[in-house]
Structures are given as structure tokens and as C-alpha cells.
């Protein structure tokens, strides 16, 4: 149960880190005042993932084309390991995301990072989504009947 909840929290965090902008992440990170020493286990390195869709939308998987991704894995001094992967080729962002993932293996630090870094970024990203949703909604066609033919 706990492991499952832990995994969901970690995935949620990774989703936000992958989507945020480097500038915003660095700015919020600076306010935390954390400077953990870490060594790289792998990367950061850029590569490709093959993006898959489904035949007809819900059928068998097929390969659509590739996307650039960057991944990194780090180890902190206390032995905690963190991983990160995000679309694009932003090494600095992904490296920092891996450090944050490693720090969040500690429940106390995770609570602080969630409150002060992840939550604000989530709110901003959700707000941006909401704006786009409303912009799209404004282009929704409201049909009204002009003339009805004879019955």
C-alpha cells in the first residue's frame, strides 16, 4: 500500500518536473537553499525514445516517430539514488530533476520540496492548461436552428 502511494507521489513529481521550464525550476530551487553533494551515476545524456500510438486510436501499438529525451541518474552522499527523464535536450533541468528525485527519497525533505517547489509549479501548469481549455471552449460552435422545413 505504502509503496504504491510512494510510487504515485514520485510519478506525480516527475510529471511536474518534466513539464516545467528550466528558468522556473531553477528559481524555485534557489529559494529552497538546498545544496546536496551528488555524483552522477549516468548522464545527463540526450537520446531518443520511440513514441507509440495505437492503430485506430485504441488498437495495437505502432511506432509514430522518435522524440528527443534527456535522462540522468545521480547518487547523493547518503546513498540515495534519483532518476529523471524529460522530453527535449535540457541537460541542466534533467540533472537537477534527478537530484530532486533523490532528495525526495527522504520523507521529510520530500514534504518540503512538494510544498515549496512542486505545488507552486503544479498550480502554474494547471492554470496554463485551464487557460488553453477556455480558449478552445471559446471556439466551440453553438448551433441554433434558423428555419425548420415543413412537417
Amino acid at each position: 500500500m505504502e509503496i504504491k502511494a510512494d510510487q504515485t507521489a514520485r510519478q506525480d513529481r516527475m510529471a511536474i518536473l518534466a513539464r516545467c521550464s528550466t528558468e522556473r525550476l531553477s528559481a524555485l530551487w534557489a529559494t529552497l537553499g538546498l545544496q546536496p553533494r551528488h555524483t552522477p551515476l549516468r548522464g545527463p545524456e540526450a537520446g531518443l525514445v520511440m513514441l507509440r500510438g495505437r492503430v485506430g486510436g485504441t488498437g495495437e501499438p505502432f511506432n509514430v516517430g522518435e522524440a528527443t529525451v534527456t535522462r540522468a541518474s545521480v547518487k547523493l552522499e547518503d546513498g540515495s539514488v534519483g532518476h529523471a527523464m524529460a522530453l527535449g535536450r535540457d541537460h541542466a533541468k534533467v540533472q537537477l530533476s534527478a537530484v530532486i528525485d533523490a532528495l525526495c527519497r527522504n520523507a521529510e525533505t520530500a514534504a518540503r520540496i512538494d510544498a515549496e517547489l512542486i505545488q507552486p509549479m503544479r498550480r502554474e501548469l494547471d492554470q496554463a492548461d485551464e487557460t488553453r481549455r477556455q480558449q478552445t471552449a471559446a471556439t466551440r460552435v453553438d448551433f441554433f436552428t434558423m428555419v425548420r422545413g415543413e412537417d
Binding site: 525514445v49 520511440m50 495495437e60 505502432f62 487557460t131
Partner: protein, 369 residues
């Protein structure tokens, strides 16, 4: 005989230098930035991503700049670049049903859950050049409309409720889709691999083929079930974690083309579907792709093979513009030796011909005398 010649090094260097000069153009005009290209020429960028088969807006913008706006050259550059990167794996299949929709229209149903969402479309513009855009006029942001929004339901699901449309079939969880990058081309090709090939195929070629199906070559009675454009989440399974990790979002365009089908020995009368899925905002391409996908299913559905769009080998061997341009454009490279051989051959044939006609003339004369 083979003659090796050497030369032209200085000419090539200077040609490249001249190319760079012409690419930069008038130095008093500011250089294009990649941000300008990604923000303001975004549909060109999307085409390069889709046919370059690499989702990375900035790389596509760089390619467009380097190629001086020649999109096929840009696509070539992107295809070449992607071979330099290691492949880490593949994503989980994206869920287009859960898309953050920016546009969704259906030609089949007027009132459907989620509604007709026009989004940022060229449709209904008057195609009149806007001279204001010569400058940098102030542009308003998009209008907002709040309130509850219904989920944007798939049209295929609506038709599916009546049982009048084919479903997407049984899914074998262990099956791995083939990858045209790694498997030599063999026909017949699976539908999964055909779709990969079409998704990166040339927009113009697919458009022309799709058009031909409407004009009667492999007619398929198409209706746009729906076209949707928007962002989908991408997740990648990381073995070291043991679960799938969200890595961000990509914008895609999906087209469900619904085709009337009178039935055959293999299938009952029903609606069938052609499918299109491409990177970015590429509606024309997604629609053309779905027409071609449907035409290529002719054999599977027991239809007569009567036209080029139904011919896998014809469509799939010629839809890739990097291959096509490579083979067409190589004709301008030196073929001096080949041509000398041809020249010799034609000379021989000509002299044989003249000898023959000369003899014939002689014979005629002799006969006349």
C-alpha cells in the same frame, strides 16, 4: 573501364561559402532566431518534425534555418541528426482520448459530446492576404469561455455503441510493433508498420494519393469522423524504477476517417475506418494519411485491387521524401563514365541503323532499276 578523377575541392569549399552567404542574405536585415521560427512558423516546424520523424521543435527550427526554408532539405537534416543519438527505448502508447484538445471537429455529427471546437484553424478565413501582417500589429490573446466542459468523446465510440463500425480489434499484449527503421522492407507490411511509414511520409505525396481516392481511384466514401489536435502525455517505462515515468507532452493531430463499406466475403456491411496520427498541428497530413491507410486495407477487407493507393509497394516505397529526393537528385551528380558508355552504345546502334537503312535504300534503288 573505370576512370577515377579528382578535383573541385576549392570549388566545393567556395560553393559552401557562397551558400552560407546567400543563406544569411542582406546583412542589414536581422538574422532569424530559432524562437521566431518555432513561434511564428510553427506549422512548417511541425511538418519538419513529422516527416523528419523526430519530435524536437528547436532542432526542426534549426534545420529550417539551415535549409533556407527548403522543408525537404530540413527534413533530411533532421533524419540525419537523429541517427547520431542513442535510442533509450519506446514510450507507452499515447492516449489520444485523454488529449488536452485544442481543436476537434466532426463531419458526421453536429451535436456530439464535447462539441465542435474550431481551435486555431485556417478554415473560414477568406484567404485574403492581410497587409497588416507586413508590420507587427498588436494581436489580442484568445478569448476565454469558462464553465464546465464536457469530456471530448471519441466519434468512433459513439458509432461503436450502435455496432455499425468496426472496432480496433484484439490486442495481443505481447506483440511488438515492427519498426521500419530497423527491419528491411518486406511486403505485405503489417498495418502498424504501414502507419509508421505513412506518418513520416511526404505530405504532398499522401495528399495527392488521398485526393485520387476521392476522385474514383479506389473510392472509399470517406467522412471525417473527427479530427483532433492537442497535447498528449508521454510516459516511458524505466526498468531501473519498475514503472512508467511521465516525461512531458507532445502535440499531435489525429484523424478518424469513417468509410461506408458495403461488405464483402470477409466482412459485413458497416463503417470502416482509416487512421491518421502525426506530430504537431498537421491536419491536412493526418487526413491524407487516413485516406491512404484505408485504401491500403483493401486486401484485408476483401476489396478489389484496382488503383495505385491500394498498392502497398507503390505507396510505401515512394512516400518517403528523403528517399525520393535522394534518388531523384543523385541524377545530377557526375555520371561521366556511365554516360560515355551510353554514348558508345548509341553510336554503335546508330551506325548499325544507318547501315541497315543505307542497305535498304540501296535495295529499293536496285529494285526500281
Amino acid at each position: 573501364m573505370y576512370v577515377a578523377v579528382k578535383g573541385g575541392e576549392a570549388a566545393i569549399d567556395n560553393a559552401h561559402r557562397l551558400l552560407a552567404d546567400r543563406r544569411r542574405g542582406d546583412r542589414s536585415v536581422p538574422a532569424l532566431t530559432l524562437d521566431q521560427i518555432t513561434e511564428q512558423l510553427s506549422i512548417g516546424v511541425d511538418r519538419v518534425m513529422s516527416e523528419g520523424s523526430l519530435y524536437d521543435r528547436r532542432l526542426a527550427a534549426l534545420a529550417i534555418k539551415q535549409a533556407r526554408g527548403d522543408l525537404i532539405e530540413a527534413i533530411f537534416l533532421v533524419r540525419a541528426y537523429r541517427t547520431t543519438l542513442p535510442r533509450f527505448g519506446h514510450s507507452e502508447p499515447v492516449d489520444t482520448g485523454a488529449m488536452l484538445v485544442e481543436r476537434r471537429v466532426s463531419a458526421c455529427y453536429k451535436d456530439l459530446p464535447g462539441g465542435q471546437l474550431l481551435g486555431p484553424t485556417f478554415d473560414y478565413t477568406h484567404r485574403l492576404l492581410d497587409e497588416e501582417l507586413e508590420g507587427d500589429p498588436l494581436v489580442e490573446t484568445g478569448a476565454l469561455r469558462g464553465g464546465d466542459q464536457e469530456p471530448v468523446m471519441r466519434v468512433a465510440d459513439i458509432l461503436g455503441q450502435e455496432g455499425l463500425i468496426e472496432d480496433d480489434g484484439f490486442i495481443d499484449p505481447a506483440a511488438e510493433p515492427g519498426d521500419i527503421n530497423q527491419t528491411p522492407t518486406e511486403f505485405p507490411m503489417s498495418r502498424a508498420m504501414r502507419l509508421q511509414s505513412l506518418s513520416r511520409g511526404d505530405e504532398g505525396f499522401l495528399l495527392a494519393l488521398g485526393y485520387s481516392t476521392q476522385r474514383g481511384y479506389a473510392r472509399s466514401h470517406p467522412f471525417v469522423g473527427e479530427v483532433r489536435i492537442g497535447e498528449v502525455d508521454v510516459e516511458v517505462f524505466m526498468p531501473e524504477l519498475g514503472f512508467a515515468v511521465p516525461v512531458g507532452r507532445v502535440q499531435v493531430t489525429e484523424c478518424q476517417m469513417v468509410n461506408q463499406f458495403k461488405g464483402s466475403a470477409k466482412a459485413p456491411p458497416q463503417f470502416t475506418r482509416g487512421y491518421g496520427l502525426v506530430f504537431g498541428q498537421s491536419e491536412r497530413k493526418a487526413m491524407a494519411m487516413s485516406l491512404c491507410d484505408r485504401a491500403l486495407r483493401a486486401e484485408e477487407l476483401g476489396e478489389d485491387l484496382v488503383a495505385a493507393p491500394q498498392d502497398q509497394e507503390f505507396v510505401l516505397s515512394h512516400c518517403d521524401n528523403v528517399q525520393a529526393t535522394g534518388f531523384v537528385e543523385h541524377l545530377k551528380l557526375p555520371h561521366y563514365v556511365d554516360f560515355q558508355a551510353e554514348l558508345g552504345l548509341v553510336r554503335t546502334m546508330r551506325s548499325e541503323y544507318e547501315q541497315r537503312t543505307g542497305e535498304a535504300v540501296l535495295e529499293t534503288r536496285e529494285a526500281a532499276e
